[in-house]
Symmetry: C2
Amino acid sequence: MADAADNSIVLPLQDSLRELHSRYAGLREGKVATYIPELATANPDWFGICLVTTGGHVYEIGDSRQHFTIQSISKPFVYGMALEDNTRAEVLGRIGVEPTGDAFNAISLEAGTGRPRNPMINAGAIAAAGMIAGQTPATRLRRMLEMFSRYAGEELGLDRKVYGSESETGHRNRAIGHMLRNFDILREPPDPVVDLYFKQCSVSVTCRHLGVMAATLANRGVNPLTGKPAIRGEYVESVLSVMGSCGMYDYAGEWLYRVGMPAKSGVAGGVIAVLPGQLGIAVFSPPLDERGNSVRGLRVCDDLSRYFDLHLFNAPASSSSVIRLKFTGAEVTSSRVRTAEEADYLRIQGAGIRVFQLQGHLILSTAEVVVHEALAVATALDTLVLDLKHVLSVNESAGRLFHQLILKLAERGKPVLFTNLSRAAGLRRYLKAKLRDQFDKLFHAFEDNDTALEYCENRLLAAKFSGTTHLRHVRPADYELLRGLAAGEVSVIQSLLVRRHYQRGEVMVHFGDPAGELFFLARGRASVTVTLSSGVQKRLATFSAGMAFGEMALLDRAPRSAVVTADTDVECDSLPIAAFDQLGETHPGIKITLLANLAHGLSGKLRRANREISVFDY
Amino acid sequence: MADAADNSIVLPLQDSLRELHSRYAGLREGKVATYIPELATANPDWFGICLVTTGGHVYEIGDSRQHFTIQSISKPFVYGMALEDNTRAEVLGRIGVEPTGDAFNAISLEAGTGRPRNPMINAGAIAAAGMIAGQTPATRLRRMLEMFSRYAGEELGLDRKVYGSESETGHRNRAIGHMLRNFDILREPPDPVVDLYFKQCSVSVTCRHLGVMAATLANRGVNPLTGKPAIRGEYVESVLSVMGSCGMYDYAGEWLYRVGMPAKSGVAGGVIAVLPGQLGIAVFSPPLDERGNSVRGLRVCDDLSRYFDLHLFNAPASSSSVIRLKFTGAEVTSSRVRTAEEADYLRIQGAGIRVFQLQGHLILSTAEVVVHEALAVATALDTLVLDLKHVLSVNESAGRLFHQLILKLAERGKPVLFTNLSRAAGLRRYLKAKLRDQFDKLFHAFEDNDTALEYCENRLLAAKFSGTTHLRHVRPADYELLRGLAAGEVSVIQSLLVRRHYQRGEVMVHFGDPAGELFFLARGRASVTVTLSSGVQKRLATFSAGMAFGEMALLDRAPRSAVVTADTDVECDSLPIAAFDQLGETHPGIKITLLANLAHGLSGKLRRANREISVFDY
């Protein structure tokens, strides 16, 4: 997707951020943090806003490229890293997840165990820093900086001045470190851990960096700009949970109520907020309120949430549009061309073939809709086709429901076919593991809907018509295009035909060939295919004995626009175009019948195409 | 949508609930509440689970129809009602929204103001009950019961025994009432308010009722079974917020971390959990843990969340599938039939007509994707068509972005057309309010894509071809179907033609008429329409001077399958079918040319239809 900067139009969202920025730029409330001297030098007018979507679009305004230190905003990210570096039980055993209702620097250790109440207060954050893996302090720092850099999509480093200032004045945090060591929450000497904590707080970032970091959390841990993971997806919900319940200290309840997004603030004036699945927001403005949160940061998040209806709990029903398209085999047929008799049969019985084209993310609530709809039509169903071409992801819950669906329909002899599974390899693996020795029998995957539909149609036709079409040998008198000709007229045509033989797999018509003849299939099957710009081979039609192809040549005399290949060994009769032209002079009546049959065939195809178009509901 | 009960197949989700139910049915932990005598009579083996989707599907197992009292689960619902009955400022002024980390019956009033910390503790809940509107206690109770009944979709009443028991033993709550009166949080005598509170706690429900109530919150306040609202949508996020931060008392942080859904428990053994936009869960099992939460209830919610990946913060990116379909006016054309020259021009220039068919809910993050994609092609754009046929809702944020998009494209002379707006009346109103006196100039709405495409095509063609088609008078020699005939041959045809005149709006061909003639349009425009089963009139084609219609009759001799109406005053030439048939005898050469032209025209239409089909990517 092109970046917004590509064109000169200022994007709508950008305008809103500008408006919001100018609304609060003049606000003079709050005080710049002074508890460490280096922070006190911040300009109270610095003010940047950045919003980044999970689609990777960045909107920024004001001092969004001004560097400052991350401070407490580092805490959720380091907590996520602690979860990756240890077992969850180890982490939960040493750091709680309950909000305290206390201020950020409260020591808040659990009575008895000494376990910090949560990882967003300093004690919990130091405990988390103590759980970062690495043989030496240098390794741990390097790993930590690499982690932050993955989130930001750029290499981040330390602000040495702030670090020095933190280190000189961090007595309270050193005290916490020793307390944690006393309770065995820290298993090693506390000073290097506290030092690592000072460093994590001193990571130098911009508002834009924080916006991308927040969007990475919104995007299940995958940086939406680089496409690379910053944290394993399974831990993102835990990181967001502690931000949600404890990220804003004793303002957490009101924050959740008003803004409705997991968030974290830092004393240098940064705030991030995350709307899972949608976007990340970062604001930077140094003046803080009495709780230690950026005054402008809070206002901007509050306004953005209200203005753009971003409250997490205000979610519209997600499941309603999981089915992009529904159609039956009576409405859309495969490109296998059928005899009139077969086509008539499929026009009715094809209703038992149900195709659901799914889209978006298959999770419990969306898969439930699919399964429910499928079972609601189970009685009328012959075969169910689930097309996953537009599916973005399939989680295990959806896999569970599909597994059950396959078993339940199999009991009634109704197969479930999956098409376009390439983007849902996990589903195949899941079903393989669950179906085990039944997998080969019950799991049906087709490359596309066309081949799946052909399979379904063949299933229906096999029950009605005995014998397989491609073995049939058709005589010229029975060629569809010669319908209505008298026996003598057929003989005239027959005298013009040239018998040809092709082996299975042989190309009968090459792309770009001059259009020199019309083919009648006497025996076997042949398919017309084109190569799409994507390189994919697409089948346009498959003909059986008795049918004609290459007739477009008679109409526009243009070179061949597709390739025809023999699907089986083929016998066919070729009518040279010159002979056809000649007919107008010698046997106009025959030519009139041929042209009328041709037009009639085309009008049938056109009617079928229009029926197909009407399915799409656009 | 049919209910699951319609067919005999047990639904997959149902199986999982059964499994979960049997996993915990034997669990013997926890104690039935005894603080009021009536609760102590509950059977510790009672155990029901119910899951209800926002699509209105109900899955239930075990004692899901056993009645019990709602108890504290009433609190969020009554809080929502207090928000509806008062201004938000009034409610926030009297009840906070911060978690306390305390137990359910803690008094937790804010020092100084006496404001209860949140509405989920008893003090806050009593304060909320005191804010229910109504002249008399009886009115308030009636209104409250009506509210609960709307959520449940069934009439709910009180369990008089439990109410009596609560009322006899509720000294602590009476004390709270007086304390609240003391701080002027309650403005009236406290006893009737506390009495109302006892009654709200004594509402008799089943697990199924609670499941539907939870799903109603998940569904933005609309009961998914009845389709009726139980609370105004704007307050749902507030109700869920207090459940999210305070619903599980001092277990709130861990609950959010582990289960990740706003929830509320009651001492009679009920628990509800809400996954916004997706589903509601209710569990009923009387034995409680030391925090007052149902033991089995917690386990079931925990397992369900883990098993089905329901954690709120684990949302997949929602914006990716907002555009159901994209196509250009070069790929899909209106049903206005163009001359060969015009069609060739549109095959190239039509690329400037961009149609985005949108789907699902238009909120900030999805509308942003649309606007971004639109502006990314702004340079190549001639007209943008936004089709809302598959859109489920449009919120104001999306309206804002569209408003900006319209203005920005208008600056460059590129109109934005909306189609199928009927389900998004709010968007029209919003744009009307924003665009004001520019509305008529900048807002373009069309009934469907067909008419919008025709408008766009006409715009393009007007720039290239001067003069309007329908005023043109075409002579037989220039009829498309007679192309290739010599002058003498045209005269032959001309001698067979019958000149006809129709007035604007007159029906030229009736549905079901025998097919007796082929029409050539000499002047004016005519449209072919069918009436769909839905009653909607659908245009199939519009013809201009020089074109022929009714040709299907020549091929299959079937009665007319559509209606043809004169769009303007029309002059046309009719070729009787008998005369056409005769041509084979008298002038076979002419008939061959006519049939070849006919087949050529059909193959062109077929090619166009196939191009259209390929757009749909199914």
